[in-house]
């Protein structure tokens, strides 16, 4: 029997788990905290070098949130970002599943090099792609519409989802699919009825990543959409609240705070799926 007192055994996680985690949690949450605090400070306090930047010293103001709501299209930008991100993520996950399955399961000439090619596509930076893509978007007649983003975002989301899902699909035992096929399922049915239910964590992980990448995207949203009311959150806030050499810090932070909520909420709800989706491929 252990001679360690019970109270010490019970408090062990405090020392071995929680306390070592605290610095990392503080490090991760500090930007959010700083954004939050700054968004409620008056401009006079923001400019005061003698004030302590970590808390509010001269009273709270909601002026920056008012500025966003009343003098900009902030809520339109928010909805635009949401619509584009959801649509682009859904399209990309569907295409990613359809691409990842054959690459992970089927044997055909060039399968491996095709997989590598998809990965390489993901590595091409958007700062190079936006110029040729602008021609494509124009020729499709999608300029200055949210469809331009729904169509172009999958160019970087599909390779990413495919790569991630390929890894996940390979962790699922082949035998359960073979059993389904023996029972009369074709490939598509096997994918939909057998593989996907098992691979839900991987699919959710891919969807979460796709949503985050879409939500944060800046360059394509800047280049392909110009009308103020159609901008996404990232571009709208930047365009309206940085005026030459004047930065509206309070408004920028308020916009960033609200803009971070959907991502935070999504991750809170799906954290378990996300973790298992990410780690599954690693321990095949």
């Amino acid at each position: 029997m252990s001679s360690v007192p019970r109270w010490l055994r019970r408090s062990r996680p405090v020392f071995t788990l929680y306390m070592p985690t605290v610095p990392f949690v503080l490090f991760a949450l500090f930007p959010l905290y700083f954004m939050f605090v700054t968004s409620f400070k008056t401009n006079a306090e923001l400019y005061d070098v003698s004030s302590v930047p970590f808390w509010i010293g001269r009273g709270v103001t909601f002026g920056h949130y008012e500025l966003l709501s009343k003098e900009t299209f902030f809520w339109s930008w928010f909805v635009n970002s949401l619509m584009v991100s959801v649509a682009a993520s859904a399209i990309s996950v569907v295409l990613g599943v359809l691409a990842a399955y054959p690459l992970a399961r089927l044997k055909f000439p060039g399968a491996e090099s095709f997989g590598v090619a998809i990965f390489i596509t993901y590595l091409v930076p958007p700062s190079l792609l936006f110029l040729p893509l602008s021609t494509v978007v124009n020729r499709l007649g999608l300029s200055d519409s949210l469809w331009a983003l729904v169509v172009t975002y999958p160019t970087f989301l599909v390779p990413f989802c495919t790569w991630l899902l390929m890894g996940y699909f390979r962790t699922v035992p082949k035998e359960i699919e073979e059993c389904a096929m023996l029972d009369g399922c074709n490939r598509l049915q096997t994918l939909i009825r057998i593989l996907l239910p098992v691979a839900v964590p991987g699919v959710i992980c891919a969807a979460l990543f796709a949503f985050t990448l879409s939500w944060n995207e800046f360059l394509y949203a800047l280049v392909f959409v110009s009308p103020a009311e159609l901008k996404t959150l990232t571009v709208g806030v930047f365009s309206e609240l940085i005026r030459g050499d004047i930065y509206y810090w309070g408004g920028l932070m308020a916009g960033a705070c609200i803009g971070s909520f959907p991502i935070v909420i999504a991750y809170v709800f799906f954290l378990d799926y996300y973790v298992s989706g990410l780690t599954a491929g690693a321990v095949k």
Partner: protein, 450 residues
């Protein structure tokens, strides 16, 4: 037995592989057709004039521009759209529109006249509009500066002149008054730094650094390109004198942080009550006034103790530059004549006057009559703006504006040269030799392209 038709089977709702492939091929063919045709499917044809501009440093300017565009659109029964982006995004947007050969009809260009050379083949000639606009407004300020390869490829639109913005209370505290030369500002900076209020001049990779350091270079008689537009003139005794002066300014009168500043940093330094003076347009003052920012530890508003005085004079000259914001029409626009018509409307004297009024004088047009606008007498803060405009020249002065001269600015060769010497990384000779080599390569590279 007859084979059951697809429609009669229980699975009739399903899509067969053949149907799927057919539909996919049809879709792809349609998409290919659109791409090959190079135009969107026909939609309702309405005339719409679109204008891309940058978010003005004084927001009311954009409101007035929008009002004029709406008014013009209503008169001419044309749908109009003004799109505003941050000035740092304009480079990307221009590149994408030129690549796609589609986008806005009218576009802001700049900062700098160099866009006229860079996008020479993509901009409409505006000789006729320039000729119409000038007589009504007392003529252009310096017409020859704006002609690129002998043509009006853009109209110079507005500039924010660069006076010195100074804290009068601190000036009084250190016993100084009426500073006028760069040597005066060095002395003031030294005294200011001693009491915790240094001078604030960016020496980093930012537009303000280009402006101020070129001003100092010229004030010592230096320049970086000759009148012929090809001879690199940076390697001179005058440049070395300017380098030594900036080194003294940096080490004796400023904080080291200025090498990492962006365009917003000097505004922040002045409005936070730290800097005694900055070389900047009136935007810092305007935002201090709007936000009612107070002097640290006091209840008095800082805007009350800010004054603006003329851009400083050097041993040889008083000269400065600024962002030359321009406007042009893409030659792939479908509404060239409408765009020209709006420009004529916007450049009518009364519209220009209202627009300058809305911008509190921050946006000074390149038109002689507008330098006499009443707004410059409405507030003593603005009194030096017309004076500064008189000594404002394009950054390539005395050389012409070219794509190469623009590239020298965009790569921040001038601030980098000054920073290398000021921070002690290079001697004056080494810094000059480095800048000369960089500039020669840029100019030679551009010659090869043309």
């Amino acid at each position: 037995m007859a084979r059951p038709s697809a429609a009669s089977t229980p699975d009739s709702g399903r899509v067969s592989r053949r149907q799927f492939l057919g539909a996919a091929a049809g879709g792809a063919a349609g998409l290919g057709g659109i791409l090959a045709a190079g135009r969107a499917p026909a939609v309702a044809q309405t005339k719409e004039l679109t204008f891309l501009t940058i978010a003005s440093f004084v927001p009311d300017t954009d409101k007035e521009l929008k009002r004029q565009l709406d008014e013009w659109g209503a008169k001419n029964k044309v749908k109009v759209r003004l799109d505003i982006i941050a000035h740092l995004q304009l480079v990307t947007k221009k590149a994408a529109e030129v690549q796609a050969r589609s986008g806005h009809d009218l576009t802001a260009l700049g900062a700098g006249l160099g866009d006229a050379d860079l996008y020479f083949d993509h901009l409409v000639d505006l000789n006729d509009v320039a000729a119409d606009v000038a007589p009504k407004n007392g003529g252009w300020l310096n017409e020859n500066d704006y002609l690129i390869r002998g043509k009006w490829k853009l109209l110079p639109w507005w500039m924010p002149p660069f006076p010195m913005a100074v804290r009068t209370d601190l000036l009084e505290q250190i016993g100084e008054k009426n500073p006028d030369t760069w040597e005066d500002w060095l002395r003031i900076g030294k005294k200011g730094k001693a009491i915790g209020h240094p001078l604030g001049i960016a020496i980093g990779q930012t537009g303000d650094a280009n402006t101020t350091l070129l001003s100092i270079l010229w004030s010592y008689g230096g320049s970086y390109v000759g009148k012929d537009g090809t001879t690199i003139t940076i390697n001179s005794k005058q440049t070395r004198q300017a380098l030594d002066f900036v080194k003294r300014l940096y080490t004796e009168a400023m904080d080291p942080e200025v090498v990492a500043w962006d365009d917003a940093s000097n505004n922040r330094c002045l409005n936070a009550g730290k800097c005694i003076a900055i070389h900047n347009p009136i935007s810092a003052y305007e935002s201090a006034k709007k936000d009612k920012i107070t002097i640290p530890g006091k209840t008095r508003e800082i805007a009350e103790v800010i004054d603006h005085v003329n851009t400083p004079k050097g041993p040889v000259d008083r000269r400065t530059t600024t962002g030359y914001w321009c406007v042009g029409i893409w030659n792939f626009s479908k509404n060239v004549e409408l765009a020209k018509d709006f420009l004529r409307y916007h450049f009518q004297p009364e519209n220009q006057a209202k627009w300058v009024e809305a911008g509190h004088g921050f946006n000074l047009p390149f038109l002689a009559n507008l330098t006499k606008h009443p707004v410059y007498k409405s507030d003593k803060q603005y009194r030096f703006i017309p004076e500064v405009a008189k000594v404002t020249v394009p950054p390539s002065w005395p050389g012409p504006t070219t794509a190469a001269s623009q590239q020298v600015l965009d790569l921040y060769i001038i601030p980098n040269m000054f920073a290398q010497h000021a921070t002690g990384k290079m001697t004056a000779d080494q810094a000059v030799a480095w800048a000369e080599k960089e500039m020669q390569e840029i100019y030679a590279g551009r010659r090869r392209k043309t």
